[in-house]
């Protein structure tokens, strides 16, 4: 009689890559709903385009690389990349923008490096940065919530804008869009206005960040905390990133409140919240040791602030994440935890 002889352990936790990715997606749902509430149907449409394109690119690349297609399409990683990229681009962008973004995210940043688990850079951020550098006009055409509210842009209208470029009420994109809060602060500071003047002179600012944006930030925060609770991500990177961003912003804010925005503004603006919980925590491209995660997160936070305040772009999360991705292996190497039974220090 021959029995089966697998090696230990003989049991396994009920988990899988798909389960991990599904939880990340689930954690994004509240923010997506909030987004739709404030900015209309653009985001779901962009997500749908991104997922379709992403799965197509992934399947094609897996086929070219002669890898099994089904398990890798099922793992959900492309969908997470697609949703994150869609979050980063203006919701009324023409459809081909996000398709190009997904091409760079999936084909260049992920599959050419060896697919799931082998990409040194965060795919969504690579896609985003390529778009930001290549299509600055489209990528900065943000429509503020109150304009959309006044216009009643319906689902079909949004579809028409994204796919055909047809704007309702015979408007043009330029008429609809406005600078984002971060952009406004940056531009107007350079015109030597004070932060106080800028905020009081613009309707886009809410209590901390931009109207609408701060609420989405709250929902992202909740989703992120749920992910920490579910142990999908650890607290290290989000806390270190938001903490360092807050701290450095606080230093300059206390020094000169009229020329530097408040720490809360920085945390609730742009991609800070999304970055802290959903982008910088991408396990593949981030650090893995506990101490390494803290260093990584803090690095992202500080670089984000530096780029926002002194760099050429209004937001710096994407660049900061990519820069820290480069440093991740080295940081991991120098932050190995002490193994049981080995001398301290």
């Amino acid at each position: 009689m021959q029995l089966k002889t697998p090696t230990s352990p003989h049991i396994h936790a009920d988990t899988s890559v798909t389960a991990v990715m599904s939880r990340v997606l689930l954690a994004l749902v509240p923010a997506i709903i909030g987004y739709v509430y404030f900015f209309g149907w653009g985001l779901p449409i962009q997500i749908a385009i991104a997922i379709t394109a992403g799965l197509g690119f992934e399947a094609a690349m897996l086929r070219l690389r002669q890898r099994p297609i089904k398990p890798f399409l099922q793992d959900g990683s492309v969908i997470v990349t697609a949703v994150l990229l869609a979050f980063c681009i203006p919701p009324l962008c023409p459809w081909w923008i996000i398709v190009i973004g997904m091409f760079f995210a999936v084909v260049v940043a992920k599959q050419l490096y060896g697919g799931l688990g082998y990409n040194p850079f965060n795919p969504a951020m690579v896609g985003y940065v390529v778009l930001l550098i290549s299509f600055p006009k489209e990528m900065t055409s943000w429509v503020p919530p109150e304009i959309l509210n006044n216009l009643e842009v319906r689902f079909t209208d949004t579809l028409a804008i994204v796919f055909l470029g047809d704007f309702p009420y015979k408007l043009s994109l330029d008429a609809l869009t406005m600078a984002t809060p971060l952009d406004t602060v940056k531009t107007e500071l350079s015109l030597s206005k004070t932060v106080g003047e800028i905020k009081s002179g613009n309707a886009i600012f809410g209590d901390f960040g931009g109207i609408g944006w701060e609420w989405i930030g709250n929902w992202l925060f909740l989703g992120g905390v749920w992910l920490i609770y579910k142990k999908v991500i650890s607290w290290h990177i989000p806390l270190a990133m938001l903490g360092s961003l807050f701290a450095i912003a606080m230093i300059f804010y206390l020094k000169d409140a009229s020329n530097y925005a408040s720490p809360m503004f920085h945390i609730f603006s742009g991609a800070a919240m999304l970055g802290a919980f959903f982008i910088a925590t991408d396990p593949v491209s981030a650090c893995t040791t506990p101490m390494g995660k803290v260093v990584f997160g803090a690095g992202v936070g500080v670089l984000t602030y530096i780029i926002r305040v002194w760099g050429g772009y209004p937001d710096g999360v994407a660049f900061a994440v990519l820069l820290m991705n480069m440093a991740a292996p080295t940081i991991d190497y120098y932050t190995r935890p002490r193994v049981y039974g080995h001398p301290r220090g």
Partner: protein, 546 residues
């Protein structure tokens, strides 16, 4: 006294599955027709048979004696006849056969009366206790099976804490739990024996905090015994809290040094069943011939049985209502660290604590390893779960890349193969397999290196020897030459030749006629002389020619 407990890093919460096998009191397993007693049931040297085929043996009779201190005696677990001493399947992950003594039981289960010798603990010295335990063939019953006496011999080191491990953190296994419930008094006796052997200051009996009934019994018994140096501690129910290193950390807050032993920090850890066996040996004169075994999984009556060492596992499965025909998988030990058997015709040995039949495991989601694992997504769940605080993911990369230097730099050999990392991995990568592979490869390389070193040393010695012999030969020859020409050595001979030549020269000088008054000659005279000389020379040459 409420003891302050400490945390260990990582660990996983597992479904316990312990209710099924703790419902019924422990019964004695039926006497099998055949007992298969391997000579090597422990770590160390195999025992040496002291019986021959055809011998009648009594129960508890010594049938194989230990050959060294790191060896353990084997005793007949029932009376009968030795029918064979041969290679037989044993419970080992390799599936290889090993020498066993096969006894056909006679059904009487008789022991020789006079062989029973009991002792009074107070009269015994630590060395005497160790001797009794050594003679009784007791090994660590928690799993590894190291001869118990070795850990009971602290040498000149001071033992602060004796930890009795009753944590039993793997799912399904309940044999120690049932032993505590049924034999608490004898366990306490065993603890006293071990304490005496070690001269330990304090004893801690560790039991998982979810085993309420068992804890309650042990607490009561210890309180009743009145020994204030024995303390029952409820340790957290987290796998692997019952691992030696983790248990020591939980109880003392100290870590066993890497590549060191618990005794280095004044701790000795013994399994609770070992304590019971020590009590049976010292107080009742019984060698280790039976133990509690959990039989769980897809059997009709999952439970614990007191099983004679050597009982075929197939007998036990039948007794618990398992079906041999549908048997597809048998695991010895728990689902986290146990190993699968190649067939069911193997005996229970001293270290067999649990037999998991088939589908144990049907109720726990098990990845089918036939489906290829997904790539590592570096999520770090493995590192969070690792009780040794290793970086399993890095170890995996380097093991996969066969970078055996790096894998050791990341402390592969501190890995206890508990399986936590493997259990939590969302990509279902068989991590522990990679570590075992790397360890085995490194051991092989070490062996090869040792062999190569040995070969090189031999080669170098060979060369040295040849060189030395050559030199010796030359020295010998030189000496011989010197002996032969000993009276007139080289120099004197030369001198003699010189002297002889000198004499000849002097003689010639004396005999030669020198021309006189030839100093102040005119040129005509000189010319004449030259003509004379020339003519003479001519004459001489002509003379010489003829």
């Amino acid at each position: 006294m409420i003891r302050k407990l400490f945390d260990f890093h990582g660990g996983v919460n597992l479904r316990q599955h312990k209710k099924e096998t703790t419902q019924h009191p422990v019964q004695t397993a039926a006497l099998p027709k055949r007992l298969i007693l391997p000579l090597h049931q422990h770590i160390g040297h195999p025992a040496e048979p002291v019986v021959a085929v055809g011998d009648k043996v009594f129960k508890s009779q010594l049938i194989a004696r230990p050959v060294s201190d790191i060896s353990a005696a084997v005793h007949a677990s029932s009376s009968g006849k030795v029918v064979d001493i041969c290679e037989h399947d044993i419970p080992h992950p390799s599936g290889l056969k090993a020498p066993c003594i096969i006894i056909e039981t006679d059904g009487f289960d008789r022991s020789r009366r006079e062989s029973v010798r009991t002792h009074n603990l107070n009269d015994l010295s630590p060395a005497q206790i160790r001797n009794i335990i050594h003679q009784a063939g007791i090994v660590g019953l928690g799993g590894a099976g190291f001869p118990a006496t070795i850990k009971l011999n602290p040498g000149d080191k001071k033992v602060e804490t004796l930890i009795i491990n009753g944590a039993e953190c793997e799912p399904y296994i309940t044999c120690d739990e049932m032993l505590i419930r049924e034999q608490a008094v004898e366990i306490i006796e065993g603890v006293l024996i071990m304490r005496q052997a070690l001269q330990a200051s304090r004893c801690v009996i560790a039991i998982e905090n979810r085993k309420f009934k068992t804890l309650d019994i042990m607490n009561k018994m210890v309180a009743r015994s009145g020994y204030d140096f024995i303390e029952v501690v409820a340790v957290p129910t987290v796998y692997p809290a019952g691992g030696e290193k983790q248990l020591i950390q939980v109880i003392t807050g100290q870590e066993v040094p890497s590549q060191g032993l618990p005794i280095d920090i004044g701790v000795v850890c013994q399994n609770i069943a070992t304590a019971y066996a020590a009590c049976r040996a010292v107080e009742h004169g019984e060698p280790l011939i039976s133990r509690y075994v959990t039989i769980a999984g897809s059997v009709v009556k999952p439970r614990n049985l007191e099983v004679r060492i050597g009982t075929p596992i197939s007998d036990l499965i039948e007794q618990c209502g398992g079906n041999r025909q549908t048997l597809s998988k048998l695991i010895i030990g728990g689902p986290m660290m146990g190993f699968a058997l190649h067939n069911d015709d193997v005996p229970v040995v001293k270290t067999t604590n649990c037999i998991l039949v088939n589908s144990v495991i049907a109720d726990v989601p098990l990845p089918s390893r036939s489906v290829s694992a997904m790539p590592c997504i570096r999520c770090g769940a493995c590192a969070d779960a690792c009780p040794m605080n290793l970086l399993p993911q890095q170890l995996y990369w380097y093991a996969k890349a066969k970078d055996f230097d790096k894998v050791q730099e990341y402390d592969l050999f501190d890995c206890i193969e508990c399986g936590c990392c493997d259990y939590v991995c969302p990509s279902h990568i068989p991590l522990v397999q990679y570590y075992r592979f790397a360890k085995t490869e490194i051991w092989n390389q070490e062996r090869e290196k040792q062999f190569a070193d040995y070969s090189r040393q031999r080669h170098e010695f060979h060369n040295y020897r040849l060189e030395r012999e050559k030199q010796e030969r030359e020295a010998r020859h030189k000496q011989k030459r010197a002996e032969v020409t000993g009276q007139k050595d080289g120099d004197s001979k030369q001198a003699a030749i010189q002297a002889a030549l000198e004499r000849v020269r002097q003689k010639r000088e004396q005999s030669a006629v020198k021309p006189k008054n030839t100093d102040n000659l005119t040129t005509e005279q000189q010319q004449l002389i030259a003509e004379v000389e020339a003519r003479r020379a001519k004459k001489t040459t002509i003379k010489n020619k003829h």
